[in-house]
């Protein structure tokens, strides 16, 4: 099933009732690589979280193919993410006391018994693909920033998602590591026809995207 992103008349408000994000219309075909950029506080991450189903909009629709996630209950949205979305964060968000494989295959701990093996195999393959095969058994607290972010990417890929959503994936990395991360994300998305939406200030990342959306004052300039 094709998971094209469609956003219509989306409004996200703060608890105090302030409009944080307003999106009249946004269409992203499945398999696209989209960059989102803009000044700090403009609403880039809010847009990412909204299309990830991590927050409930005040109004409007967010749909991935036939999945209208804006109408889903929290448990249904969690299930949608579990099955279709891989998330990468700026500061990795790993369990430092676990190994790289333990982190990459974390979904196996709450997945159905029938899918656990495939998740672990996929995580192992992801680590190998990202050059971390030899570090599989080591705790990630001894890893460099670049290695940690690659573990986070392997974790995002472990459930073989159709969508990768990345929030500032290169912001905590040095230039060399950031360049490698950009390569990895772009090639991983292209190779498997995944949709990649990446929030970033990094021009190098945006150069590898199919197109870039600027967000200003809570409004994407599409």
């Amino acid at each position: 099933m094709s998971l094209d992103l469609q956003v219509r008349d989306l409004v996200v408000r703060s608890r105090e009732g302030r409009d944080l994000l307003t999106v009249a219309r946004l269409d992203v075909p499945a398999g696209s690589k989209i960059g989102i950029r803009g000044p700090s506080g403009a609403g880039k991450s809010t847009l990412l979280f909204a299309i990830a189903g991590l927050l409930k909009p005040a109004s409007g629709d967010v749909s991935w193919g036939e999945h209208r996630i804006s109408d889903m209950r929290a448990a249904e949205r969690a299930r949608f993410r579990r099955e279709n979305v891989g998330l990468v964060f700026q500061d990795f968000l790993l369990f430092e006391e676990l190994s790289s494989l333990g982190n990459a295959a974390i979904a196996a701990r709450y997945a159905k018994a029938s899918t656990r093996r495939s998740i672990v195999a996929s995580a192992r393959a992801g680590l190998a693909r990202l050059g971390l095969e030899s570090l599989g058994g080591r705790r990630v607290d001894s890893f460099s920033g670049g290695e940690r972010q690659r573990v986070a990417v392997a974790r995002a890929l472990a459930n073989d998602p159709a969508i990768i959503l990345a929030d500032e994936p290169t912001a905590s990395l040095d230039r060399a590591s950031a360049d490698r991360m950009v390569d990895d994300l772009a090639s991983l998305a292209s190779e498997s026809g995944r949709t990649l939406v990446a929030v970033s200030h990094d021009p190098a990342l945006h150069e590898r995207m199919d197109w870039v959306i600027d967000v200003v004052d809570g409004r994407p300039l599409v």
Binding site: A78, E97, R109
Partner: protein, 441 residues
């Protein structure tokens, strides 16, 4: 509805099985909750990672629980140990006859060697008791003197044998200047000493100057204050006080019964042992008169224990309440501690982990701390009981051998079940947090 066969079936079971069944029953809520919460998930390595990340904070929580549990179980075990120890110390004292007064005071003086000034029983009374056809043993117990920390008790050789069986060392006293010491008296065989008049701070050291007694034997341990006592022929006590020696001129130099009532100076107490159980009751009745009081130390002790039993129940309830309060405090702390893990839990929820899994992680984390604390608490309790038993034994000479038993394990099982159920609260609280806020924190 309870089936008709239930009471018969239950009471037909061995006590061990009943206790074990209660233990399982009390632990069952915790086990069932754990099974239901964790079913189909694998939260354990994440829980371990959470515990390890803030290991010192978590260790402090576990320690708090352990101390709370340890104090609770230790308190109950110690109380039982003291009760058993005092009962064991009194079991050789079937029936005691003294002058009328307080049974408790007389029991403390005679059985636990806490002497008091009491009127003496005369020779006629002793003779009436000793010559009763049902009496197997009638031993005067003449207290009031001491040597350092040890009471010097005048009695008979038969009483020494009744109290401790065969001597551990040496031989029985056979002369008025000989003594047999208790197992813990720091006097060697052959040592000599002069008793003081009175005991403790009131003892008059020079009152019996010139009286020199020699140790000729040592009793086997009895686990009672008598282990610290020095036993001498009752004639010896009379002699150092300048009294007749209990025998007429024709039996001058005799040690032990029979005593001549006309030459019997008196004794504060007489231990009586009948050859039949029923005879003890008959003797008690016979010697409960205007001039004498007969009582069973075991019965007096039982009344005291009954009185203390109410205190024990209050203490048990207090122990449970204290533990629950400590655990409530710990759970409140856990709720705060969960905030340290808020970002990781938010990550799990962002990745799409079911709420039930996040719930399982938080609950398993809390339950692990509680279980670990409870198990460590049993160890703490055992250590505390061992140390306190030694101290109590050293201070009272009553052998207290307190060990943990089923009641303590029942208490711990109930405590664990209650608290892991309470641990559901921080797990629910973790789910009510805002994912985005925690991810950005």
């Amino acid at each position: 509805m309870v089936p008709e066969f239930w009471p018969e079936f239950w009471y037909g079971l061995p006590v061990f099985v009943q206790d074990a069944a209660w233990f399982v029953l009390l632990l069952l809520p915790a086990l069932v909750t754990g099974l239901v919460v964790v079913w189909s998930f694998r939260p354990f390595s994440l829980v371990w990672a959470m515990i390890w990340r803030y290991r010192w904070t978590n260790a402090l929580f576990v320690l708090l629980i352990a101390i709370s549990v340890g104090l609770g179980v230790g308190l109950i075990a110690q109380e039982r140990g003291i009760r058993q120890g005092t009962a064991r110390a009194a079991e050789k004292f079937d029936l005691v006859v003294t002058a009328p007064g307080s049974e408790v005071q007389m029991m403390l003086a005679t059985v636990y060697l806490q002497p008091v000034d009491v009127p003496l029983l005369d020779g006629k009374t002793y003779d009436a008791i000793a010559s009763n056809e049902n009496v197997a043993l009638a031993a005067p117990i003449a207290y009031g003197d001491s040597f350092h920390e040890s009471s010097v008790i005048g009695t008979t050789a038969a009483f020494v044998t009744h109290l401790s069986g065969d001597l551990a060392e040496g031989r029985m006293f056979a002369a008025v200047d000989e003594a047999v010491v208790g197992a813990r008296v720091p006097l060697d065989i052959g040592a000599t000493f002069t008793p003081a008049h009175g005991v403790g701070d009131a003892a008059e050291e020079g009152a019996h100057e010139g009286a020199l007694l020699r140790v000729v034997g040592r009793m086997a341990p009895t686990g009672s204050p008598w282990d610290r006592a020095i036993l001498v022929p009752v004639e010896s006590v009379w002699k150092v006080h300048g009294l007749p020696l209990g025998h007429g001129p024709e039996r001058e130099g005799q040690i032990g019964p029979p005593f001549d009532p006309d030459y019997f100076p008196g004794t504060p107490a007489i231990l009586v042992r009948a050859d039949q159980l029923w005879a003890n009751y008959a003797l008690r009745s016979e010697f409960t008169t205007d001039r004498t009081m007969a009582f069973f130390p075991g019965a007096v002790l039982s009344q005291l224990h009954g009185l203390l039993g109410d205190v024990r129940q209050v203490m048990s309830v207090m122990a449970v309440v204290t533990q629950v309060l400590v655990t409530l405090g710990v759970l409140a702390g856990l709720a705060v501690l969960i905030r340290l893990y808020a970002r990781r839990l938010a990550l799990l929820r962002a990745l799409g982990a079911p709420d039930r899994f996040v719930f399982a992680v938080v609950w398993t984390y809390a339950a692990t701390l509680i279980f670990t604390g409870a198990i460590l608490g049993i160890v703490v309790g055992m250590a505390a009981v061992g140390i306190i038993s030694k101290i109590v034994t050293a201070r009272t000479d009553i052998l207290v051998e307190a060990t943990l038993a089923w009641p303590e394990f029942h208490l711990v099982a109930g405590f664990v079940s209650l608290t892991v159920l309470m641990a559901l609260t921080p797990a629910f609280m973790a789910l009510s947090r805002d994912v985005i806020t925690d991810l950005r924190s």
